[in-house]
């Protein structure tokens, strides 16, 4: 941490811009770094500082991977629902900095909702702590949440303290085909359950990436987090609700439920090299997923292949558009990007390789409080050394 502070102070003095990297899994959510940037990896900040199992809290350095944290906590039957793609590489710091939301947030909260403290290193090398290791704390501003979602443009997150949760006793996944005409009803049925699933995805496309054979139909992947006592009732409720919605058959996966869920999360940012761009559409109606259906139609209208993963419980969606020919994508994508943003001003790019991505409205519509955001950036990082020009509105 002190080495990091010294490094930042030096770069700041030399006005040298830094590109900050965690596991490099959500890189595409930002614009590419300026060519003269020095790469700053948080990989060496890989220590789990303190797991206070009896307090249900944990402090980790930013470079700890999501998987490593899950393993440590799992040994004590606890977890933090970060649910970031590529958990083996994704870091806890990167997940928070990128503002990843997680498909189980309707149940457990967003990753940032579980943050109780942090240590950040500012551009000038200042080491600043906020919060602590207690689960309620209103002493001063909530700096940790300000850093969450800031993509490292205000400060480098060095340590994060989190509330942990008791691990559910059982996890069960359900796979089903979702023929045309059943989707909206299935989504509505899931949202209305007394025991809502921990996560539910309606998937159109992504053949190789996600479980289940679909033919032309979409697929449904549902995850239940339950106690021993509630598992059977939850299963029964879910199956009969889906049955009433016209879903032909639901297959239960017990061994490997977690993996089926993780493969779907990974697919949210799966790319086809330079041949695809993936957008996240903001939370729309819960249910049904009309926003995704409209985006798929739009893709067709632009002669692009469209695929979608709809987060049924939260109402947001990941939409991948692609073309077999990278150059063809390059010529069509800008028009699609304009059309999509006309419909969905808050749509954001989450995956895709250079160079095509760079000309798109990666962050969607500029936020109304952009002036305040620019002022914050200027106050925290006056020489713009942290991820210069990679964030919204040129920040």
């Amino acid at each position: 941490m002190h080495a990091l502070s010294a490094l930042l102070a030096r770069c700041n003095a030399e006005r040298r811009s830094l590109a900050i990297v965690g596991g490099d899994t959500l890189r595409a959510m930002l614009l590419p770094p300026a060519t003269e940037s020095v790469l700053l990896s948080t990989a060496s900040l890989a220590r789990i500082v303190e797991h206070c199992a009896a307090d249900l809290t944990v402090a980790v350095q930013a470079g700890v991977t999501v998987r490593a944290l899950a393993q440590t906590l799992g040994a004590a039957k606890q977890f933090v629902p970060l649910d970031a793609p590529h958990a083996d590489r994704a870091t806890v710091g990167g997940t928070l900095a990128a503002g990843w939301l997680g498909p189980r947030r309707h149940r457990y909260g967003r990753p940032r909702d579980l943050v109780i403290g942090s240590v950040a290193v500012l551009a000038d090398g200042t080491i600043a702590a906020a919060g602590g290791m207690v689960v309620k704390n209103v002493a001063g501003y909530d700096m940790s949440r300000l850093y969450a979602g800031s993509f490292g443009t205000l400060a480098v997150l060095a340590q994060i303290n989190l509330k942990t949760l008791p691990l559910p006793q059982r996890q069960r996944a359900f796979l089903a085909r979702l023929p045309e005409g059943t989707r909206e009803r299935a989504a509505a049925a899931l949202a209305a359950l007394a025991a809502p699933p921990a996560a539910a995805f309606w998937i159109d496309g992504f053949q190789s990436a996600v479980d289940g054979d679909e033919g032309d139909d979409g697929r449904l992947v549902v995850l239940i987090d339950a106690s021993d006592a509630a598992l059977e009732r939850s299963t029964l409720d879910l199956r009969s609700a889906l049955g009433r919605a016209g879903v032909p058959e639901t297959r239960i996966v017990d061994a490997g439920a977690r993996e089926a869920f993780e493969r779907t999360v990974d697919a949210c940012v799966a790319t086809l090299g330079e041949r695809s761009i993936t957008y996240r559409l903001p939370e729309g109606d819960v249910p049904p997923p009309r926003n995704a259906v409209a985006a798929l139609e739009l893709a067709r209208a632009h002669a692009l292949r469209g695929e979608a993963i709809v987060d049924v419980m939260n109402g947001d969606a990941f939409v991948r558009v692609s073309d077999l020919d990278a150059r063809a994508l390059g010529t069509k994508i800008e028009a699609f990007d304009d059309a999509l943003h006309a419909r969905e001003p808050h749509a954001r790019v989450v995956a895709g390789e250079h160079p095509i991505r760079n000309d798109l409205a990666v962050f969607g519509a500029p936020p109304p409080a952009i002036a305040q955001m620019r002022a914050l950036k200027a106050r925290f990082d006056p020489h713009a050394i942290l991820n210069r020009g990679r964030f919204v509105g040129g920040i």
């Binding site: 307090d55 909702d113 200042t126 906020a130 290791m133 909530d142 949440r145 800031s150 914050l376 964030f391």
Partner: protein, 465 residues
């Protein structure tokens, strides 16, 4: 001049200028400050904006005010200035049942929101014990907690977007859907020092299918606190886990006949909410732990009426205390949950050393203590003892790895104690945020940040009740 301009802009009925009228706004539930120069009661965001502009031109500080139930002097005009009170902006503006969200004015009373959406089987989760009086705006400004924040999180987890009037009287909005920085989260809990909340989008939750409430009695307070730590350590997170000691249950029973045993040293009020199928297992697991820790009685509330009575008693505990002591001071600290027994021992020792009666009623599951120190403000010795005891409790929480406020806020009361938990660099970093939103320090000055380089001491409770 100031008063006349405010009257011209907002109308005479929206501005209070007589010293008697204004004196009500010099208080919160903790302390008293100076009379403000004027009090305005805006009807809408335009009024707020106009009032801020006029105050700025007249070089007056601006203090936003909800219901004034704050316990740290947050809404008190220390330097006078213009108080903007939200009593007239109390409407539920929009309700989106499908997406479970509501847009509200800041003066809407917390409980009124849950009541308004109950028939849709929804509720607003943050439930400070003051919810019958405190406002959503005040709750947002303090990031208020409450018994049910154990499982649902504090106010910040339930705010989706804000409309803010800034220090120049300009309006801006934030939303958690926006790209860029999470300004919503930065503004929640900022105690009126970064902007004035004029509307908020908040999240609503579905009422649970099943709710059970249990009252568990213990012969010793130590055993009760160890039971709480053990419940948490076992990975059980009930929807609420509250504790009251004998001083409090006696006062509550006298005032409300809520149904608490009065022969116990401490009681736990435990609530589980969720699926009916889970309830028996929860009950068995919790019962097992509390019995292992020497619980002397266990009672399940059988009916909704019994549950409501127990909760009304719990949430009325502070009021009940007002009936047994001429004055009391509420401390608010939070410690890691395994440290609860040690923290309670420290409270007992500190109060004992100063011969004060203390009542404990608090959010035990979160490790969030609220010792109520009873005193008579006409007795200088007792006042001094309260200050010293409050200070000692604060220090013991810090020594146990805790913090100086779990939910009531820093306000005026604890500003100087900030240096005990944060370094100069930590505080300077927070001040950078203030520099952006309130560079002239006109929004609720004298709050949160410590005075210059003064020795950190908790300020005396300047007498309430």
């Amino acid at each position: 001049m100031l008063q006349q301009r405010l009257i011209d802009a907002l109308g005479a009925d929206a501005v209070k200028t007589s010293p008697e009228d204004m004196s009500v706004y010099a208080f919160d539930a903790y302390s008293q400050g100076r009379n403000p120069s004027a009090v305005v009661l805006p009807a809408d965001v335009r009024d707020v904006s106009a009032a801020v502009k006029i105050a700025r031109e007249c070089r007056e500080p601006i203090v936003a005010r909800g219901a004034g139930t704050g316990l740290c002097g947050g809404a008190v005009p220390i330097e006078g200035g213009v108080v903007i009170a939200f009593a007239r902006m109390h409407r539920l503006l929009e309700l989106d049942v499908r997406r479970r969200r509501a847009r509200v004015q800041p003066g809407l009373i917390n409980l009124d929101l849950s009541r308004a959406v109950a028939e849709m089987r929804l509720f607003y989760a943050p439930d400070p014990s003051s919810q019958k009086a405190s406002t959503i705006g005040g709750n947002i400004a303090t990031n208020a907690g409450g018994p049910h924040c154990l499982s649902y999180g504090t106010t910040v987890n339930h705010v989706l977007g804000l409309e803010i009037v800034d220090e120049n009287g300009e309006v801006f909005t934030t939303s958690i859907d926006d790209a860029g920085y999470d300004l919503t989260a930065a503004l929640v809990g900022s105690e009126g020092t970064l902007g004035i909340v004029t509307a908020a989008w908040v999240r609503l939750m579905r009422l649970p299918e099943s709710v059970r409430v249990w009252v568990v009695a213990f012969g010793e307070i130590e055993a009760a606190s160890e039971a709480v730590s053990a419940i948490v350590a076992a990975g059980i997170v009930p929807s609420a886990l509250e504790m009251m000691d004998a001083v409090i249950t006696a006062a509550v029973e006298e005032a409300f006949h809520a149904g608490y045993p009065t022969d116990a040293a401490a009681v736990l009020l435990i609530e589980s909410a969720g699926l009916e199928d889970d309830m028996n297992a929860y009950e068995a697991a919790i019962k097992h732990i509390v019995e292992a820790h020497g619980a002397i009685s266990w009672r399940s509330a059988r009916t909704q009426a019994e549950r409501d009575a127990l909760w009304a008693g719990r949430k009325g505990a502070a009021g009940a205390t007002g009936r047994i002591s001429p004055n009391y001071y509420t401390q608010d600290v939070c410690v890691p949950r395994s440290k609860l027994p040690a923290a309670l021992r420290a409270v007992e020792e500190a109060a004992g050393a100063h011969r004060l009666v203390v009542g404990n009623v608090f959010h035990a599951g979160d490790g969030n203590l609220h010792p109520l120190l009873m005193y008579d403000r006409r007795d200088a010795r007792q006042v001094a003892a309260v200050i010293e005891t409050g200070n000692a409790i604060l220090q013991s929480a810090i020594d146990l790895g805790g913090t100086i406020s779990g939910e009531h806020g820093i306000g005026y009361e604890k500003r100087d104690a900030m240096t005990r938990v944060y370094s100069t660099d930590d505080l300077a970093t927070m001040a950078r945020v203030r520099d952006v939103f309130d560079p002239q320090r006109v929004l609720n000055p004298e709050k949160i940040f410590p005075r210059g380089a003064r020795c950190p001491e908790v300020k005396p409770p300047t007498l309430v009740q």
